[in-house]
Symmetry: C2
Subunit: 198 residues, 2 copies
DNA sequence: CGTCTATTTGAATGTACTCAAAAGCGGTGG
DNA sequence: CCACCGCTTTTGAGTACATTCAAATAGACG
């Protein structure tokens, strides 16, 4: 089953009985999204949080100059949404969009509340996940305030070696907070250094 | 009582019985720290998370060039720690240090586990807090990748008007990810613009 | 194949940093 | 009370990092 990926994720943090697992699975819904399709639109309330089974998703926003900036990528095994919009049920400030054709499990706000009530352990699961996500963003702030674009790119490659092969470099630049042209120049420089060292 | 500040924070997210409240208060410990004193040292395991009752605290790290970078400020009513070190009970990558003479309530990892077990609602409290902290850091990433230093400084002033009066500008620069000299130049420029507009 | 978008490259510009020096400020001791 | 010390802040000059704009090239897709 595809949902195995979700059960694996759960097993890392909590033990669920078969009954609780069945309840959880009854509360999520599989959804197929085509490349370019939106899961959340800026300004709308994000009613669901999404667990990626296949493909890749991005969360991004558009600044005052009309420029797009990528807040987060998600591939198989990751949850993605505009978290603030979802947990507060307030209008989203971000867009969530499929980069490739993808399959996700969506879990609605209402169903999550049911779940929390019937299976309090799920509070722990999402608390721990949120803590990990928090640490990841904290790490990113740290990198942004202390490293050059080149070092951030190298750190990105280190952290997401698999993602880079699947998405346009343009999106990587947008994630790193630099222009696509400059990323191109960084890559050229790195290649040349490789060459001269070998 | 000073602990009122903690109870207020709790009341925002969950309702606790008097008994549960008493249990919580029995598990925290008041601690006075002098300006410059450390709550967590890089490399050591953060055994406690801290709720600030008075004063101000900073979380920072030192990069490979020996330069300090501020990850987070905390004033009255905020929790602060090296969250990753605390929840994973692994060596801290950050230092946590008092900026002013301060008073905090410390809650140890062991006591927090007791608390979670006896008062499952506390899972919710910390899940929600972590979500809010997550959103704050996400916001900061967004600002770092899309705004100039001047705009980030203005956003900082907007968000923490009270902090700026209490801490050296040097620390603000470190938080923003710019040099102290450059912040000085930004402020000069802003003053001149103010003058010419009025 | 042709069209559209992504990537590369180069030149000119702007943003932010380093280094060095001067000015300001707060505490401390004589 | 003031003189001095140490630290923060300001200022200026020169430099490095990153952007914009424009044009050329390469890839992807129908």
């Amino acid at each position: 089953m595809k949902t195995d990926l979700l059960l694996e994720s759960l097993k890392k943090y909590i033990d669920l009985s078969e009954k609780d697992t069945d309840l959880l699975l009854s509360l999520v819904r599989e959804r197929r999204v085509k490349k370019g399709q939106f899961l959340v639109h800026e300004g709308a309330v994000s009613r669901c949080t999404n667990f990626v089974l296949e493909g890749s998703i991005r969360t991004y926003f558009v600044d005052l100059n009309g420029q797009e900036h990528i807040v987060q990528f998600a591939i198989e095994g990751w949850w993605i949404s505009d978290l603030n919009s979802f947990v507060m049920q307030s209008p989203a400030t971000f867009n969530v969009q499929a980069i490739e054709d993808s399959v996700v499990l969506e879990l609605s706000f209402e169903n999550l509340e049911v779940l929390y009530e019937k299976v309090p352990k799920m509070e722990r699961y999402f608390r721990v996940l949120t803590q990990r996500a928090f640490v990841a963003f904290q790490q990113r702030v740290v990198q942004n305030i202390s490293m050059t674009a080149e070092d951030r790119y190298l750190a990105f490659q280190e952290k997401y070696p698999k993602i880079e092969l699947r998405i346009p470099q343009k999106l990587v630049a947008s994630y790193l907070g630099i222009s696509a042209e400059f990323l191109s120049k960084i890559k050229k420089r790195l290649k040349e250094e490789m060459g001269s060292k070998k």
